[in-house]
Symmetry: none
Amino acid sequence: MVRKIGINNLTARVPTKIKTQEIIDDKRKDIIKAAVSVFKHKGYHKTTVRDIAKAAKVSMGSLYDYISSKDDLLYLFYEIFILTYYQKVVSVTNNIKDPEKKLKVAYKTLLEVGFSLEDEVLFGWTEAKNMKKNYLKEILKLENDLINYFKGILDEITAHGHSKIHDTGLVANFLVYSATFGILRRWALKGSYTKEQIINYLMNTQLKTILPHLVP
Amino acid sequence: MVRKIGINNLTARVPTKIKTQEIIDDKRKDIIKAAVSVFKHKGYHKTTVRDIAKAAKVSMGSLYDYISSKDDLLYLFYEIFILTYYQKVVSVTNNIKDPEKKLKVAYKTLLEVGFSLEDEVLFGWTEAKNMKKNYLKEILKLENDLINYFKGILDEITAHGHSKIHDTGLVANFLVYSATFGILRRWALKGSYTKEQIINYLMNTQLKTILPHLVP
Amino acid sequence: MVRKIGINNLTARVPTKIKTQEIIDDKRKDIIKAAVSVFKHKGYHKTTVRDIAKAAKVSMGSLYDYISSKDDLLYLFYEIFILTYYQKVVSVTNNIKDPEKKLKVAYKTLLEVGFSLEDEVLFGWTEAKNMKKNYLKEILKLENDLINYFKGILDEITAHGHSKIHDTGLVANFLVYSATFGILRRWALKGSYTKEQIINYLMNTQLKTILPHLVP
Amino acid sequence: MVRKIGINNLTARVPTKIKTQEIIDDKRKDIIKAAVSVFKHKGYHKTTVRDIAKAAKVSMGSLYDYISSKDDLLYLFYEIFILTYYQKVVSVTNNIKDPEKKLKVAYKTLLEVGFSLEDEVLFGWTEAKNMKKNYLKEILKLENDLINYFKGILDEITAHGHSKIHDTGLVANFLVYSATFGILRRWALKGSYTKEQIINYLMNTQLKTILPHLVP
DNA sequence: AATGAATGAGCATTCATTCAT
DNA sequence: TATGAATGAATGCTCATTCAT
């Protein structure tokens, strides 16, 4: 089941002093974009709110009209980040009927979105612990939607008897985990392997584990 | 090729004001142990040097006689952490002649050491970015030793014609990456899967990718 | 001698951008009322101009059309506050001829107005220091009118030979001071004494000091 | 019953990062003295922690080694302030046997201590609301000790049949309240009345209310 | 060698006031 | 007249590091 949530109305969770919703949405996009661009390079802790304000070309005071704390920016980043992933995967695979094909396309999309958002992925993996408890909870829920989307495909495959998957939940989790391999290990891989080589490797090994009869 | 380095003389990279090497080694072990015990729970940034001094039962001044900055502690943590991994894997597999058996035992050891050091693994993954550039370089070298140890086994397997592995470097990297799945995704997995289930799953799927004829 | 000043034209001291006097008076009353309602609960410093604008249901910009600074509101509060006291006491006692009777009624009124404005009294006592020097001067003048009203009664009493009061100015001052005892010490008194007990106590002791022959 | 608490061990309630108790006591006295000297002139809110550090000739960081928040300084001020009052009154009257004499001396001491601490009294009356709830509670307890000391004397007087006091608690409260008249109304009184005139006036009127047979 | 008090630059956040629309 | 978004100086507080003893 696909949650029908857009980015704009989701961010409603974060309080603001501004009254015009349209301005909030626009400005927030700018601010988060600026925040992420700084976060990516300096990390959450080393980035100061001044850095972000400067990057977003707003004053300190104005920044705090749109968010209520530095924490909020982290939350907003994750929200957008995970939704970007999710919506991309869903939009690309939604109309595919054959579950095996669907899995292949979904996984490939996962890999490609990851590579297109390398810095964000890296940042996302390392800074989650800095989120406030209740914010983290929300983000984990969203992340779970993505895992479940894959689990759903795997369940379909099993149901159709194409393949016998032991535990679709565990497999779905590992699939999603495996998709960030190329990014999280980029220091070790860069120089030796191209993005395409990594994608091919993962498509061949990880999907074959699930669909043994797969012909690449 | 196994680098023959022990913990003590490695830490020589980190400057100190103390002159008796023996005292340095002992005290440093205490300090790092204390630092890690705090880091694990509070993270690097939220841990203050005061916290560490307190946990190590030394004065602030004394602490700075053994290290020259908070960064050093991070480096020393990684050094010990990665060496622990490496030495464990090597010591357990060093005498195994059959490369397939060796791979199995090495991978299993990797998984088990990981689970025995969950907090350290988590900490290690998320705080690497806080290390000074030149320290990071050193740590990546050490990490590379571990990857190469696996690559060596895979090369042996290929050489013996048991299995045809396309790119042993890439596979070695992914193997080591996969081994932390259970820990890095523990928020999603805890509650649903036991450590044993996760280890079994990974042994079955990841090793089978490499050794298709494997009978669990 | 009673100054004949109404609330509206007094506030003329505070500058405004608005030109129609009628609108000023109306809107200002709303704004001050709102400001006081917030001030009472949060204190002057912890109340933000935003709070006041919200409570007064006007925009920030509009608020600043009617006042020129947050200070002004403090002044306007005191102005209304002290006039309320004064006018009440005067209106109730103006027609009483017998000065002893007049004193009794005036003092009792003082006590009762105080208890009906507990929060305002408390606020008034503790925030006066935040007023601008020249505003404070004006307020002290108004306050002096009240003291002098009591002094006038005491002078009459002395003139009529009913009682010999050493220094009517000092006595008048202390009388007015004594009247806020129940409010300024309410943390210590609440729970043990009712408003009526306190009023009775003060009527008995303080008036008897002045009029020894008094029969309650 | 006189609580046996000195200033030094009382301040133990406020946390510190310093380990040597002697240093804490000394430095804190300096800091509070400096804080009060600034508070008196600028009020609590308008005084910045920087102001205080400067006046105390310590760095910001050092200041925060001795207190844990600006609030603490307010608490420490009140603690010392109220104890100064209390200890002075008790030490001067402790050995007086005759309760009437005791009351006279105690009240006079109250008046004189007040006048010797004018700024502190004024500050104390107006800033109590800024104290944290639990701190305020402690201070009110201390204040209550002073009230009760007077109540004790009044009870003795009543017990000895010298005078019939209706409600010694209420009278004690009002006595203590009356003692700050000269200070809290100094704007109105200064210029017209000397400290001595005010003290005489209060001694004559307030004590006579309690001890009608009193001959000044 | 050891201690712990001192330093001060740096940070997140607030808020009275202004001004373009 | 009315609106509310924008400003930025100012504030309370932290903490890695130093240094006198």
